[in-house]
């Protein structure tokens, strides 16, 4: 007895065998209907009897296809096993744990207080080396700060602006429409100041790394002594979550490193959690609105599904409920 196999090849083989059997049964029906005789009433019965006899050999034909299905299943299984992802730790880094972010989930919004604190962490700790080219100060309005607060924060920086009427470049205090300032003039300057390593732009880091938010949190809090026998060269630091294990960034998130303006105790994990909230928002600022729109339109879609389904069945009702009478007369 053939076991139930579930493989693409098996399914295709079974479907092909069914098509072949169908064609055979159609042929049997044709032979039977040509042989039928006189009475209208007994016609269908005679046709069906003849049909069953003719199509009786379908069981033998089906067995060959079952064998093919089994072979197909075996081949697919072997191919599938060979492609298992072994999560090579040296290549991908230690797999980061899944933290219970409060913004995970279909109906969960960002924690905007956390985004506000995260921006403070970024400004005081990360902005020294990392740029964030795609975020402007005005993007924070309505998300973490009011408009007046944003104007105040933007005014803290100096920005080079275009030629004035005399044709000279001048510097002015920042406006909300300015983008976050870059700490280095270009990539070469960044590499030179960081021992050859380029601190990546953080605007999209949570989307640009696999499992971004969990990875960044684990990375920031994951600095530890290298295990016995492992040594990292001078200038690098051991971090198991970084692919390769040796990262050029030192541990920057430390207990009490900064003071939050709202008085939250600044433990390392608090700072890391807030900065990752901020970075996740920076990578996906539309997330709250996207989830809302998704909920509304999937709900409307479900209502429409019922309506469309009913309409289809209403239109098809006359056709599905009709009766066909085979009135074969020679």
């Amino acid at each position: 007895m053939a076991t139930r196999v579930r493989s693409t090849t098996g399914v295709v083989a079974r479907r092909l065998s069914r098509v072949v059997v169908f064609m055979q049964e159609k042929q049997a029906l044709r032979t039977c209907t040509t042989q039928s005789t006189t009475h209208h009433g007994l016609e269908l019965l005679q046709v069906m009897k003849c049909w069953q006899q003719e199509a009786g050999y379908k069981k033998i034909a089906g067995r060959g296809f079952r064998l093919l299905a089994l072979l197909g299943a075996g081949a697919t299984g072997m191919l599938g096993l060979s492609g298992l992802a072994y999560a090579d730790e040296a290549e991908h880094g230690l797999q980061s744990p899944s933290y219970p972010w409060t913004h995970n989930g279909i109906f969960s919004s960002y924690d905007h207080t956390s985004i506000r604190r995260g921006h403070q962490v970024f400004k005081q700790v990360c902005a020294a080396c990392h740029s964030m080219n795609l975020i402007a100060y005005r993007d924070l309005i309505g998300v973490a700060y009011t408009e007046d607060e944003v104007k105040e924060i933007a005014a803290e920086i100096e920005v080079q602006d275009g030629p004035n009427d005399e044709g000279e470049m001048f510097s002015r205090p920042g406006k909300p429409s300015d983008y976050f300032p870059a700490p280095y003039a270009n990539e070469q300057a960044a590499r030179f100041s960081n021992g050859g390593a380029y601190p990546p732009d953080l605007s999209l880091i949570c989307k640009a790394r696999h499992n971004g938010q969990n990875y960044v949190f684990a990375l920031l809090t994951g600095y530890r002594e290298p295990p016995a026998g492992v040594s990292v060269r001078e200038g690098l630091y051991y971090n198991p979550y970084f692919p390769g294990g040796a990262i050029a960034m030192p541990k920057v998130i430390n207990d009490g490193g900064i003071e939050f303006e709202d008085g939250t105790p600044a433990s390392a994990s608090q700072m890391a959690k807030d900065v990752v909230s901020f970075l996740t928002w920076a990578a996906e600022p539309e997330a709250d609105e996207r989830k809302l729109i998704g909920a509304k339109w999937i709900f409307v879609g479900c209502l429409l599904l019922f309506q469309v389904g009913h309409y289809k069945r209403w239109k098809w009702a006359p056709i599905k409920s009709r009766k066909l009478v085979l009135d074969v007369v020679n």
């Binding site: 919004s109 207080t113 506000r116």
Partner: protein, 69 residues
Amino acid sequence: MDQRRRGGFLDTTVRLLTRRNSVYIAFILTGALVGERVIDYGINKLWESRNVGKRFEDIPSLGKKVAEE
């Protein structure tokens, strides 16, 4: 032959609405306008009930930076 079917609630409404195309179209348009507002309100209420305290408006130190000046 068939006696006239006793209309249920749905039967009567559908008959009233689809009898004339002008009524049908008017129903669709007003239904869309009103329905969108109702659904927006309902889902926004659900969203807020699930995300208490996480909204921008709920930030405790909102406006404090400027007030310190």
